[in-house]
Amino acid sequence: MTAATVAGPHQYMAEQMRWRWSEIAFWLATLLPFLVAPSYLVLANQVAITALFALSLDLILGFSGIVSLGHAAYFGVGAYAAGLASKWGWGEPLSGLLIAALAAGLLGYVTSFVIARFRHLALIMITLGLGLLLQEAANSASWLTGGFDGLQGIHTWSIFGEFHFDLYGYTAYGYSLSALFLIFLIARRLIYSPFGLALRGIRENGQRMPAIGAATREHIRTIYTIAAIIAGVAGALLAETTETVSLEVLGFQRSADVLVMLILGGTGRLYGGLIGAAVYMVARDQFSGLNPQYWYFWIGLLLIAVVMILPNGILGGLSLLARRLKVPS
């Protein structure tokens, strides 16, 4: 009868969070730049950092429905925190990430009280305002941040005193990729926890949540703080591997770019931000090589095409294709 065709509830839940072959293939593919494109390791490092940043946005936007146009605020604070620690004489990279996580997490926690009270358009305005506010503050506090000239004098020590940051980006990419993978594992665990389910509930119907006894605002504050911490770590990775921090880390452009990448890749799918970041940054690299002045023209075209043809992003399109062809994932 039906019992034979319908999987039991526990089997079903376990099936949801099973590691898929496509996931394993994805992570193996991230090792390819070491082997086939060593001259692109510097770019690969940028991609890994931006992918981590996009992952943090996916946690709030894709899984919880919290729209943000100012997510660079946390990325930037993380970058400056790690950069300043190094400038003041503490260039140890791993603890640098911790310092950045603390600074960005603190800012995230404080601002989350405002974020949790609003939705939709108001949220876009508030996050946008917050981002602009912070960038201007960093600009005027040039005694601390170096202002428009950027933060000078950052030196990142070797990892464990063993792995020296080289010019070609071997260590940098290995370091950023490891951070991305470890934080991805944490994010994946979070998504398949009761808390992750509650976040999806907020995304699906935030109004309904209090009626089933959910402390919605508390959930939003928690995930917003976690996302801020991850964005801060991404910022710190950039500061440490490039040994510079410019005002651009806090800029509106960065907030907008990461949103574009996430939508391009597909929101609420964990991998959307990673794929989106890779496609976007490789495309930018290629297009700007062809036609340096007009690359945003091509990006604009790509964005419109993807949203029109694949409303759920690249990943949404791929999973649709897989279902059509009945390929096991």
Binding site: P9, Y12, R189, L197, A198, E204, R208, A211, A214
Partner: protein
């Protein structure tokens, strides 16, 4: 000491000059099946909103048992056992039925904050959710996305979500709205089968269902409680006939 599961005392609410609740007094004794009826715009849904904290009264108090809950936010009323469903499907479209109910169970058991343990570790929560779905005949579709469920199944899922919170008092806002007649009988049979520990109040327009499933009836008109009594008393009340039943039976004659 009161024997009431839920009570409203002198509740008033107006939006500008529009009075939606005027000195509303309601006492729901433990375990009773109440119907709340009245013409459109009588303030029935508003009263549910006021009692569950979705709206704040301008004056008056709401009591759950002996506790004054007037100042509590909606989710804290849910934790104390006052739960509602919605007239218009208000569900989680891209969650499966099982996920939705598991979510509600997790929130009730206060484990929805844990993010470091996978859902598969919460076997008893999942079991409980599955049992609730089975009791409402939703087990065969429990792995389907909510938005893919038939309308009647979505109405049942509304009730499943409410049950997952372990309500003491359940307020059902037109549970059978939009459901075909044969199915609404089934739906009400499921409601009638709920534990007697749960006090139920439902809004319903279909008089046949009201008279069949309610042990007492409250009639509201223009934000006021007009009369309260057994279905027989209500059916023979001349005031009620004048303002409400006349119209309703008129409608039934056409149908």
């Amino acid at each position: 000491m009161s024997e009431n599961a839920l009570a409203a005392r002198g509740v008033n609410k107006s939006f500008g000059s529009l009075v939606v609740a005027a000195d509303v007094e309601i006492n729901l004794p433990q375990g009773v099946r109440y119907a709340l009826i009245g013409p459109n715009g009588a303030g029935k849904t508003t009263l549910i909103n006021l009692m569950t904290g979705m709206l704040r009264p301008d004056a008056g108090h709401i009591f759950l048992g002996d506790e004054d809950i007037t100042a509590l936010p909606p989710e804290q009323r849910v934790w104390r056992g006052l739960v509602r469903t919605f007239q218009i499907n208000s569900l989680f479209p891209h969650l499966t039925a099982l996920e939705s109910v598991t979510l509600a169970v997790c929130e009730r058991r206060r484990v929805a904050r844990t993010w470091w343990r996978p859902l598969t570790a919460y076997r008893s929560e999942v079991d409980e959710a599955y049992e609730i779905l089975s009791s409402l005949m939703l087990a065969p579709v429990s792995h389907r996305l909510t938005r893919e469920l038939a309308y009647g199944q979505q109405r049942l899922l509304e009730i499943a979500l409410a049950l997952a919170t372990r309500p003491k008092v359940l307020l059902l806002d037109e549970p059978a709205a939009g459901v075909p007649r044969e199915e609404s009988q089934e739906l009400f049979t499921a409601i009638a089968g709920l534990s007697r520990d749960i006090t139920v109040l439902f809004i319903e327009h279909d008089m046949e269902l009201v008279f069949r499933f309610a042990s007492r009836v409250i009639v509201m008109v223009g934000g006021r409680v007009l009369v309260e009594g057994t279905p027989q008393e209500i059916a023979s009340d001349p005031q009620v006939r004048a303002v409400y039943l006349g119209k309703a039976t008129g409608k039934a004659d056409h149908g």
